[in-house]
Symmetry: C2
Subunit: 237 residues, 2 copies
């Protein structure tokens, strides 16, 4: 995805390892702002999201509630957000002693993969008691899988989703989400591009600028302590 | 390495995968600024260096001069700078069709490893015509290996080093370097910590801030087209 705006470019892409894209960008002689992406273009400006914060907050939140098996549905490692979210999830779960590679599903950023990833995790012999979905589209699929499975949130499973703040607040129960600064991201990119265009006659590519915007966990009602697991344990004793 | 400054902490570390460190930092109830490091601590501020820029500029510079075999001596992947530099080197050399895993030496940030890594690369059957050293201490070792080998810069080999701007300018020939904003890094960290301390009574950990500072190639005389290789080729024809 890329769009021209009067001699400048705000660019995202679905695969940073696509050589042709980096080659095209390098051939351009206009200011470029990368939207949460890495390309081997030394002079491009960047507006990045610190996905680490939200993911670490989500793992801390779930671990504090008592979850010991936290599932993760995320994107592949060919783009920066996928790499950063996966790395943060691994670091935070390792720190809590909860890392288990079997609980990770990485794939394309589609509702289909989200649904498939969640179904795979939930049908495992020792399924997770909580799921984190890190991408908007995957999150929709995970939510569909949860609703379709008949599992109750948060009684049977806790869910941290990602996506439209308002829509997921209206869900029953309201969904705990990874909240990203989507509007700020666009605004910052536009600001950088305009500033770069304004100085284009001197040397626009001399000082690439990188802005990093935070991400946060927005806690609602879809996450709670693992109730069903605790009730079962109580009944057995 | 960490230092207390009146209720705040500016922190770097030699291994981000050291669990004990992340645990200690999480237990602190004071503002923390990470210096070019990643730890699974959602509320820590960060001052990061965009190492990508300098590395991509170095690869572009050498590739444009005609180098086809570019060696890389870098740190291990347990800290952010090591990961980011290696990833940038790989992306940029892949883009130029020059990637060769055999030309990469990753190890501890010591002059000893720098010397060893350079010696290993230079003694290979098809040695590089250019070397990039990405860390100060490793760079010193690589330079020692080059001087000790009797190879002339830039006639026999091109060298991109890293380290003290002034000292490496005084070398004969003056060394092309990866220039990092070392002073700015400390100043930004101090500024963030002071700002965080000033607001500590309200909620210092609510909005972690990330600042990213650029890195750049500073071209001097230790890099040029692969002269010896070209002379030899000319003589053979």
């Amino acid at each position: 995805m890329y769009e021209r705006r009067g001699g400048g470019l705000i660019l995202s892409c679905s695969d940073e390892s696509d050589l042709r894209l980096a080659e095209i960008v390098r051939e351009l002689e206009i200011p470029v702002v990368l939207l949460d992406r890495e390309l081997p273009v030394a002079w491009a400006h960047r507006v990045l999201v610190d996905h680490r914060q939200g993911i670490v907050e989500a793992v801390d939140h779930l671990a504090t509630l008592g979850h010991r098996r936290i599932g993760f549905v995320g994107g592949t490692l060919v783009i920066r957000p996928g790499r950063e979210r996966h790395q943060a999830f691994k670091a935070a779960t390792v720190l809590h002693g909860l890392w288990d590679e079997q609980l990770v599903q990485l794939g394309p950023l589609t509702p289909e993969f989200g649904r498939l990833g969640a179904a795979t995790l939930l049908s495992a012999p020792d399924p997770p008691t909580a799921l984190i979905a890190t991408d908007n589209r995957q999150s929709t699929g995970v939510l569909l899988a949860l609703v379709g499975s008949g599992l109750q949130m948060p009684d049977d499973i806790s869910f941290v989703g990602c996506g439209d703040v308002e829509a997921l607040a209206l869900h029953n129960p309201p969904i705990t989400i990874l909240n990203r600064p989507v509007e700020e991201l666009g605004a910052e990119a536009a600001k950088l591009l305009l500033a770069s265009l304004a100085t284009a006659t001197t040397d626009p590519i001399d000082r690439p600028v990188t802005r990093v915007l935070g991400s946060h966990l927005l806690i609602r009602k879809s996450t709670d302590f693992p109730r069903r697991a605790m009730r079962t344990a109580g009944a057995i004793r």
